[in-house]
Amino acid sequence: MKLSSRTPYNIAFVFLMLTALWGIVSFFSYHIAPLPEKMPPTLQKAFEADSRPGDRIYLADQRFDQFVGSHPQFNIFPGTGKNASIAAEDTHFYLIGGRSLRHSFAALKDFDHREIAYADGVTLWRFDKAGAPFAEYRVSDSFPEGLTVRSSVYPDGSPRRNRLFVTGTEVWQNVQAGGGEFGGKSRTALSAHPLGGADQWVELTVDPARWQAAEMAFEYGVADSGDCKGGCPPVKITVTQDEKLITLESKDGQWLTAPLNGFAAGRPFTVRIVADKAGKRHFFCDVVLRAPIAGGVR
């Protein structure tokens, strides 16, 4: 049977009308429908039951970015396209996305993943690196949980402003989670600018009990932005727990690690930060807690 020369035009006409109809329907049903501003309660409960403080949650895409601000107590990473490659460095993390798992995450070969919860079009997945017994947590990941701050200006405890700890009278005298570059490599840690003067101090008290860490380490450094090429005095750090004591000094532009061997993981310890001169001492530090993966090895 030979088709009429008009048949393709009739098909195109119907196709255009159906596409227009679909466009109208999708406008009302999807384009102008609100995005979720918070995690559905089911998801939040499931996550809280399954995780530890500071557990990383990656967002599969930007649609869920409002979760970062609506759940500040969680360690949520905005939905940049690089998240899968960043997450590949972890041993254990969570992913929030739409109904289907994003290809870049599904392609993470070394990881086992399973769906924890699904509600209102939002899915929570858990990813575990096969055979990895430990997950690494950083105190900065769950800031300000597990942390109290004092200073020589506020010896009874630092007040909070914009959810950061105020340690002095200048605007830069505070403790907060922030980003810095060390030897050209950027990282997020606790920014704790010293106050300046041998008798002026900032003191962080870290309570690692909730993580039940098998190993702990203290990380620290002065960021590249504060590199004086040896022209500034180092930041002096003292880490103490009961009789246990470690003294350290920073090196400009270097991110250093000091294992906290012998420190009890179930009790608080203190980190005191002092610098003779505070100028350009862009000091950052963090505590790494290596803890068994919640729920055991998978």
Partner: protein
């Protein structure tokens, strides 16, 4: 006879009505269009150029080098035509104060847009049909991104418009001596608009070679030196220089500086499919992908159908202009796809593509409706309006922020967030944000911006001069002490995800969203609780022995 006269009136009045409608849409509430990051350069330059025109006649100083340098140094890395259009609106504002200053720079561009629509209508009506011309004009009006660019004081719409007019003149010049000579003038205006104009010579040359192939073989010299090309050789560069007083002195050095600036253009970041690109630039297909996802789906479909279904080869009258349309569209987007030119900011850099897309879409829709037999002949064109409904709904919903427009194919702005596209471009000072500060600020208040605040002191100054922003607003560099902190949600800035996390504990006081996606969030500075700091020097040293 009476019927024929009525039809002629309709033919004459319709393009004017469409152009008037377009101009109305472009200028209606135009003060509510955001100020873009680059518009502030061009606005300031246009102000200077306007003052040059205004002040120069006293003492006839137009040719004086010092006088020229004083007014034309500003933004001398870009040619002048678009900024002269802006300066025209500014001069009217200066003399008569009939509109806001910010609007005054835009009205010239919008007026050019309406004129372009007349050329577009004429092109399609002469090449194809009256109805196709109406459809093409509507497709052009309802291109959200182009609509935005026709309402802001930047160079991009102007170069798109002048390139189209140049191609139009060339095509009319094939049968009209007047338009043939106008080709050089139009090309000169295109050259004086932006640097991507010279590439549009390519479709003209290819088209001319194809349609004049036999003549070229028989009478090569006479065919090559057709009036269009002679006109281009004679008028284009002189017009380019004439419109740009900056080049009237130290011509060689300054022209070389202009060319070198663009040959070594600094990299501008672009967020594309979840990755940030600058140098190297995004993948070669990015301009095409951006075109597809930011153009209404039905426009793209109609344009494709126009070429796919109709047998142009049997219709020589229509084949030639459609070939020219296809070549021009391909070159406009292809230069960014296949040449090592910088590419950023969505579809801003290939605006010359869109008039040709509208032509193709209008012709495509006309072919489908004209030839389909589903509807009775009398009603066959009746459903044409249906194809515009989705885009009109989106444009109304986005208010004036059409740089957040993404097509149905990826699910609008929300879909852009899903697939890793920038949901708005770049460092825009939104009208809604200005209105928020108008309502909110009760006293002089410093406001800081991140991740990139450096454009905002200038754009806020223009808004304040235009009385669109409260004078109580002042820009601050200090994000720690500012009373308000504005986070613009732009993934092209590498630090943006960290900033979002850094401020997660702060409670937003204002969020500007489009289609559910946050574009701008404002935080208010929290005062610390009153805790008296102790006097220093009283603290015992920690024992470390």
């Amino acid at each position: 006879m009476k019927h024929l006269t009525a039809w002629r009136i309709v033919m004459a009045v319709t393009p004017l009505l469409l152009a008037g409608f377009y101009l109305f849409l472009l200028t209606y509430q135009a003060e509510r269009v955001a100020i873009t990051d680059d518009a502030r350069f061009y606005m300031e330059a246009a102000k200077d150029y306007g003052d040059y025109l205004d002040n120069g006649w006293k003492g006839n100083k137009y040719f004086d080098k010092n006088f020229i340098d004083r007014y034309w140094r500003n933004n001398h890395e870009h040619p002048s035509f678009a900024k002269l259009l802006m300066a025209g609106g500014y001069l009217i504002h200066k003399k008569f104060t009939v509109w806001h200053e910010a609007f005054s720079y835009r009205v010239g561009i919008s007026f050019l847009a309406a004129i372009t629509l007349l050329f577009l209508f004429s092109f399609v009506r002469r090449a194809v049909s009256f109805r196709a011309a109406v459809f093409a004009s509507l497709f052009f009006i309802f291109l959200p991104r182009t609509f935005f660019h026709a309402r802001v004081a930047t160079l991009d719409f102007t170069v798109g418009a002048t390139c189209f007019i140049f191609i139009y003149c060339y095509w009319r010049g094939l049968t009209s001596r007047f338009w043939a000579w106008m080709t050089g003038i139009a090309f000169g205006l295109a050259l004086a608009s932006k640097l991507n104009a010279p590439f549009m010579v390519l479709p003209v040359l290819i088209h001319y070679c194809i349609i004049k192939w036999d003549d070229l073989k028989r009478r090569p010299v006479r065919t090559i030196f057709a009036p269009q090309f002679v006109s281009m050789l004679l008028f284009s560069l002189p017009l380019f220089f004439a419109l740009w007083p900056w080049l009237w002195h130290d011509t060689f050095a300054r022209f070389t500086e202009y060319v070198l600036f663009h040959l070594h253009h600094y990299g501008i970041s672009m967020y594309y499919l979840g990755q940030i690109y600058s140098t190297p630039r995004p993948p070669w297909a990015a301009p095409f992908v951006m075109m597809v996802v930011t153009t209404p789906l039905l426009t793209v479909l109609c344009a494709a159908l126009g070429f796919m279904l109709y047998r142009w080869r049997g219709d020589i009258r229509r084949e030639r202009p459609m070939l020219l349309t296809a070549l021009a569209a391909f070159v406009a987007v292809g230069t960014l796809m296949f040449l090592p030119a910088p590419f950023y900011s969505g579809v801003k850099l290939f605006q010359p593509f869109f008039p040709f897309l509208a032509v193709a879409a209008g012709v495509g829709l006309w072919r489908v409706l004209d030839r389909a037999t589903i509807l009775p002949v009398r009603w066959r064109f009746a459903p044409f309006g249906v194809v515009f409904i989705p885009v009109i709904l989106s444009m109304i919903d986005l208010k004036h922020d059409n740089l957040s427009y993404y097509s149905e194919i990826i699910g609008g702005t929300k879909g852009a967030a899903k697939y890793g596209f920038e949901t708005h471009y770049y460092d825009l000072y939104y009208y809604d944000l200005a209105k928020y500060f108008d309502r909110e600020l009760k006293s002089f208040s410093p406001v800081a911006f991140d991740p990139n605040g450096k454009e905002y002191p200038f754009t806020s100054s223009i808004l304040k001069r235009s009385k669109l922003l409260t004078p109580k607003f002042y820009y601050s560099d200090n994000k720690e002490t500012a009373a308000y902190f504005v986070l613009t949600h732009e993934y092209r800035w590498r630090e943006y995800p960290d900033l979002l996390r850094k401020h997660k504990w702060r409670k937003p006081v204002y969020v500007l969203k489009r289609q559910g996606v946050p574009l701008v969030t404002v935080y208010k500075r929290e005062e610390p609780p009153v805790v008296r700091p102790v006097a220093p020097l009283k603290i015992p040293k920690l024992r470390i022995d």
